[in-house]
Symmetry: C2
Subunit: 347 residues, 2 copies
């Protein structure tokens, strides 16, 4: 690792002159010397030591990206293509602005914040719901923070949030189902927090608007742990007999459910209609192709990153940016035939 000092000595100049050339401060250096130094820099392939630079400048050019770890809870959520698409979009965006990305996976907001301090990161993108506790912890750090898909239970609004119109997404889809003639529509999810809560709300609003009464048992709660999932899905298939359509909180769950239906000889959409949410490969290549709610994950990542970069530069940004969804009508939602329970004795 060649240093500025070494270069200065070799050229018999001062370090400041070299430093000025490196930073393109042409006003301070004669063209003649600039050329000499530049040539030398190119020759030795000078690369700055960023630790020294950061220390001197009290900045880091690092953007931290913290993902809430879920791998310990569910076995397969880190395989989520959503995550890599989001990360990819963020990385591309910040790289173009000269920033570096440090990735951290944890559920512990305190640990995340400790790391933020340690590295003196210039900004932080938090993905996944941080609790209201987390919001409180994070308030201490003056660095800009942008959250992605974060809902506050207590309604706290301390950070910028880039989210999706989750509520409206399911609302539109369930409205579509209703327009097809469905009246018995269930909602499938594994919890009722954050994003799932918003999607549930949209579902309820559509029901209400159509004068359909929602009851607790219309909520199908999937237990996604590997050791329970099979049993849980079977149970849901059983409960599904009284319904003609199921609004799933994600494409993954829609596809999981359809696989179970297939195995039991229940046809989609002839016997029951299914809709997903996210619009990823899983539904796109499924046959029948999944009717789903589209979200633009790349846009989400880019938006989160550009918003954070603005804040780092001291610009004002909206406090909440809600991206729209759109309906992708494919083949898994059709007109209702009959309730599954009517088929019960034919199979």
């Amino acid at each position: 690792m060649i240093t500025i000092k070494e270069i200065a000595q070799a050229l018999n100049m001062s370090t400041t002159t070299v430093s000025n050339v490196i930073h393109g401060k042409t006003g301070e250096v004669s063209e003649e010397k600039r050329q000499i130094i530049q040539d030398y820099l190119d020759k030795v392939e000078y690369v700055p030591n960023i630790n020294a630079r950061n220390l001197a400048q009290n900045e880091s050019k690092i953007i931290g990206v913290a993902l809430k770890a879920r791998a310990d809870k569910y076995d397969n959520l880190l395989k989520d293509p959503f995550v890599s698409e989001l990360i990819g979009a963020i990385e591309q965006t910040i790289k173009n602005a000269g920033y570096y990305m440090m990735l951290y996976i944890s559920r512990d907001i305190e640990k995340i914040m400790r790391r933020v301090s340690t590295w003196n990161v210039d900004g932080l993108i938090l993905f996944g719901m941080i609790g209201d506790d987390g919001i409180r912890v994070s308030k201490k750090y003056k660095k800009p923070i942008v959250c992605v898909d974060t809902y506050s239970i207590e309604g706290l609004k301390h950070f910028t949030n880039v989210g999706l119109d989750d509520e409206n997404g399911t609302y539109e889809m369930v409205k579509h189902m209703i327009s097809q003639g469905h009246k018995k529509i269930a909602f499938l999810s594994d919890n009722s927090n954050g994003v799932d809560f918003a999607r549930l709300s949209g579902y309820k609003r559509a029901l209400k608007e159509a004068g359909i009464k929602y009851s607790e048992k219309d909520f199908f709660k999937l237990r996604p742990r590997a050791e329970e999932v099979k049993e849980s899905i079977d149970e849901i298939c059983e409960r599904a007999r009284d319904y003609t359509a199921i609004m799933c909180v994600s494409d993954l769950y829609a596809v999981m459910l359809m696989a179970a239906f297939y195995d039991k000889g229940i046809r989609v959409p002839e016997d029951i209609s299914i809709a997903g949410f996210d619009d990823n490969q899983l539904g796109f290549y499924h046959r029948p192709a999944l009717t789903t709610v589209h979200q633009d994950v790349t846009l989400k990542g880019v938006t989160a990153a550009t918003t954070l970069l603005k804040q780092i530069n001291g610009e004002e940004t909206d406090n909440e940016i809600i991206l729209p969804t759109s309906l992708i009508i494919r083949d898994t939602v059709s007109i209702p035939r009959k309730k599954l329970s009517d088929l019960a004795h034919t199979s």
Copy 2:
């Protein structure tokens, strides 16, 4: 950001004493003082400035993870769940060893190496095939490098490689197909480099062993660009009429192909058998469930990370670590009925 100096002043001690307590050098400090300092550290929630520390120690505690960008080439590969699973595994492993992860996505090995120098990273994990040029460029940097899934065309072996027994994976699968009675077996891929080359070789070996002659036209080359993929797949479906089975280089391609077959009314596995490679969600939830070659991506990530950590610590490691595959027999490979071309006039 409170500094050691400030703490030392507040406590009327020297910075060295404080530093010693921070580093647990108990031999140097009396228990009494240690307690006082420790309490104070806890109270003010001291967090070291890692830039200063790195500068002083000439290390970084950073492990760089470079992914070869493919998003510009294909539109959907950054959505690959493989990537997030791999990253997740690496992150978890290095975090436990006290390292941080800097993520970089680029196709340009020079840029990657420039960053490696800039940040003085302690080690690097390269994912995806770096060309032989890349190997030469990287040789200049003395830092340990571990590659994942890298094949050298020229047979260069400069870095540790964590790979998969790709060749044997397809070999076993094609052998399985042959044992089911298949004789006309095609291979589907989008290129013939690196991993794909190895998988192709295994396929060829199985054919050869069974006395089946391989010809160029048995290689189905998919053009994965978004604007071409539909046409390309249709063409492949047409060529598939002369075959009874297709070995696909990935689960994704298997599922894409099956979707196209479905749309054309061609049944899997009744009319044609399909096998994938990777064993991800796409095939797992497909119906009929995809017969495929399993690889343990998490293990790949963990292995790469632990190997790199060993090298950083100066330990010897194997130069090449090849992980095994296993056959996952599900429902898309069965005995051959007849060639698709025989069905041509019935539909």
